[in-house]
């Protein structure tokens, strides 16, 4: 691996740091009574919104349909995920320093698996909250569940819900892309090395 490959690999690992600066996912709600919209922000380590009161407002609206209140404390993931991200950042930097092409590939694959597991977990949570409704809820619509979309938009009673990855997720995408490029561009360097060995 050439020096610039190592630099790229460094950048790939560091871009995961975006997860600590920006939310990974955003759920936008719009309703006639909320012309200004209501946003829930899912971070690697917390749940917040566009305002201090957003999460409370989500919970107030959700309690009418019997959804369990959403609190950051109830998600073990939010405690574990930061360590996983740090693990990937540290190992990514080590991979860059070692300059081993195979390690780059394993790092990317592991990161992709990690990301996929994260998304699957998120989907399961959405499902759990959207379907596990208190039978004594004031508002009951027969057959209706309230699973927000994982990606894209969906109408839930008077709300239009839109769910999109946010800048934090871009960090993961960037890490996968850059590390993938490093693996791809460095293929010649290895071949050259092998060729040199053969020639010698």
């Amino acid at each position: 691996m050439k020096a610039y490959h190592k630099v790229l690999m460094m950048i790939a690992s560091l871009s995961l740091g975006l997860l600590f600066l920006f939310p990974m996912w955003k759920i936008y709600l719009k309703a006639p009574q909320y012309p200004e919209g209501l946003e829930m922000h899912i971070w690697v380590n917390k749940i917040s919104g566009d305002t201090e009161g957003s999460l409370q407002n989500f919970n107030i609206l959700n309690h009418y349909i019997g959804m369990e209140p959403i609190h950051a404390e109830s998600f073990a993931e939010l405690k574990i995920m930061p360590y996983i991200v740090i693990f990937f950042m540290v190992t990514g930097i080590l991979v860059a320093l070692l300059g081993n092409r195979k390690l780059v590939l394993s790092w990317v694959v592991m990161l992709m698996i990690g990301g996929a597991v994260g998304i699957a977990d998120f989907y399961m949570w959405l499902n759990k909250f959207g379907t596990n409704l208190d039978p004594t809820a004031p508002i009951k619509v027969p057959g209706m569940t309230y699973v927000p979309p994982l990606l894209g938009s969906k109408t839930l009673l008077n709300f239009d819900a839109l769910s999109l990855p946010a800048i934090g997720s871009l960090g993961i995408g960037l890490a996968i892309l850059l590390a993938g490029l490093v693996y791809f561009f460095s293929r010649n360097t290895v071949q050259v090395k092998t060729a040199k060995k053969v020639m010698a």
Binding site: E36, T51, E52, G53, Q56, N57, I60, Y64, P138, I139
Partner: protein, 672 residues
Amino acid sequence: MKSLFTTIKKAAPAAAFTLALAGGAVLQGCSSGPGEGSATAAGVASDAAQAVYVAPGKHDEYYSFLSGGFNGQMSVYGLPSGRLLKIIPVFTQHGENGYGYNEESKAMLNTSHGFVPWDDLHHPKLSRTNGMTDGRWLFANGNNTPRVARVDLTTFETVEIMEIPNSAGNHCSPYPTDNNEYVIAGTRFSVPLDMKGGTADVSMDEYKDKFRGSISFIKVDKDKGDMELDFQILVPGFDYDLANGGKGPSSDWVFFTTYNTERAGTLKELGASQNDRDYLAAVNWKLAAKYAAEGKAKEMPAYYYHNKMDKDTHIAKSTIKKTVRYLLPEDCPGMMYLIPAPKSPHGIDVDPSGEHMVVSGKLAATIPVFSFSKMQKAIEDKAFDGEINGIPVFKYESVLKAEVPEPGLGPLHTEFDGKGNAYTSMFVSSEVVKWKLSDFTVVDRMPVYYSVGHLMIPGGDTHTPDGKYLVAMNKITKDRYLPTGPELAHSAQLIDISGEKMRMLLDFPTVAEPHYAQAIKADKIAPNSVKFYDLAKNKHPHAVKKESDASVTREGNVVRVKMTAIRSHMTPDNIEGVQVGDTVLFHVTNLEQDWDVPHGFAVMGANTAETLIMPGATQTLRWVPKKAGVFPFYCTDFCSALHQEMQGYIRVSPKGSPVPISFSTGKKKPAA
């Protein structure tokens, strides 16, 4: 039948005109005469509807603040639509939100005379920065029981009310200087001061010797706006009517119109109308402040209330002030002068350049315009014509710049458009008259309905007016709107003054009773408007910030209910253990942190108003149950789909009953 109707219809305007003449209102050059169609349609711009139309969902260009007069409040209208946006309670209890009824705000209405739940609010004045309205605070006077209030324009709430000692009828008030260094308040009535903070018990026959007026100088904190009475000037025993500060070259001065310089103590209608000239008083406030600071001020005992709303607890606290400093004009040379002005002048308005002082003498045939530079010269030349109480009186001609000839009848107030024009309201001839400051000639007239008092141009009293609209606040309504019995809405009219000719745009009814008004571009206020209070910063001693902390406790005869409200329930909503004769204090905290979700609270039989609790705030309703039973309480502000379910019960048992205090919300879920 039809022809008779047509005849009457044709004759009606002529008849109306004859009646107007009979009433003594000679309409000088008024454009609405017979033959121009009905008087009510005169002057209405053809595109008026479009000019004032603010489409659904769109906002007005200006906030206007119209005083409530005898309703004691301030009302907020959008311009140009004339839509009512809010009534801000100031001096009067407001059942709508519990202002002056709930435990937190009661103290705002404390005075040295006890709890005074009403006043007569005449003049709003916006706070200023460099002579421009800045949209931070609004000052307003209480006329009847002399008080000055301050409204915070981030919350549109009254946050401070200060009583003015040695004053009676705080009409000539409150006038801010260019940077709110002072807000100045003059007394309308002169009274016999006992120099101990009250009025003396003297015969009215002693008016001439014993009665004095006062002008108060209220210092305003630059950042927080808090008021403090710095000093007063004790002035001759006239009636002080209106005032306005200078600008630019005259910004160190403030001018006051006076009447009853005859010092009549009875039937002032006649007694105060005998002299051909009364006075315009000119006070150099900067020099007065300097005299006060340099030890010329004496101190006398006083007793007046100063009430402030604490920003963090939302609780008003009263403090009693026991002294006041005062200056006597005779001890302070150069501080005060008197300018002879035509009989019983009303409005005094200073043009944007600061050079012209326009005095509208309601009984005068012309509008005199005084010159500030001539006044400076007259001081230098000592062009005086005697003195009163050691205050030099100028020769009329030495200060007069010009007289506006034949302006109309009953001039009251003048404002400016910043383009060289002045607009004067004519009470008797019921019109707004536009005249030029360059040659003092009348250039346009607009009839208004009926009998205009104050008029207002946004910034029209500052050095940079925004000469687009003028609001005429009329004193008589009669047939302008659908009749509503003997008591009618009040009549305001919006006039376009952007062109050469005034154009009538809109009539809009208002709640009682606008005297003066202020207006400001919406973008100076709207971006700072608070949406809700931060619950984390709520420092109310009885606030509870989560439902699990709600409680009911007995302290002797007092039962304290620390309750929370959030869509759509109150915690607790079942309360027992209260006894007849207990004082129950419901401290209700609104846990919401969202815009426009107030909750209201009311309990059956409470001898007070509901209290409306803004998100993040805590308010207290006091209730003394008189009989045993179960009493419902509920949320009074439609908050949510299940608002009607937001209710609870409180059980009251006979005195001495063994029922213990208990409280709950909801039943625990049975174990699964």
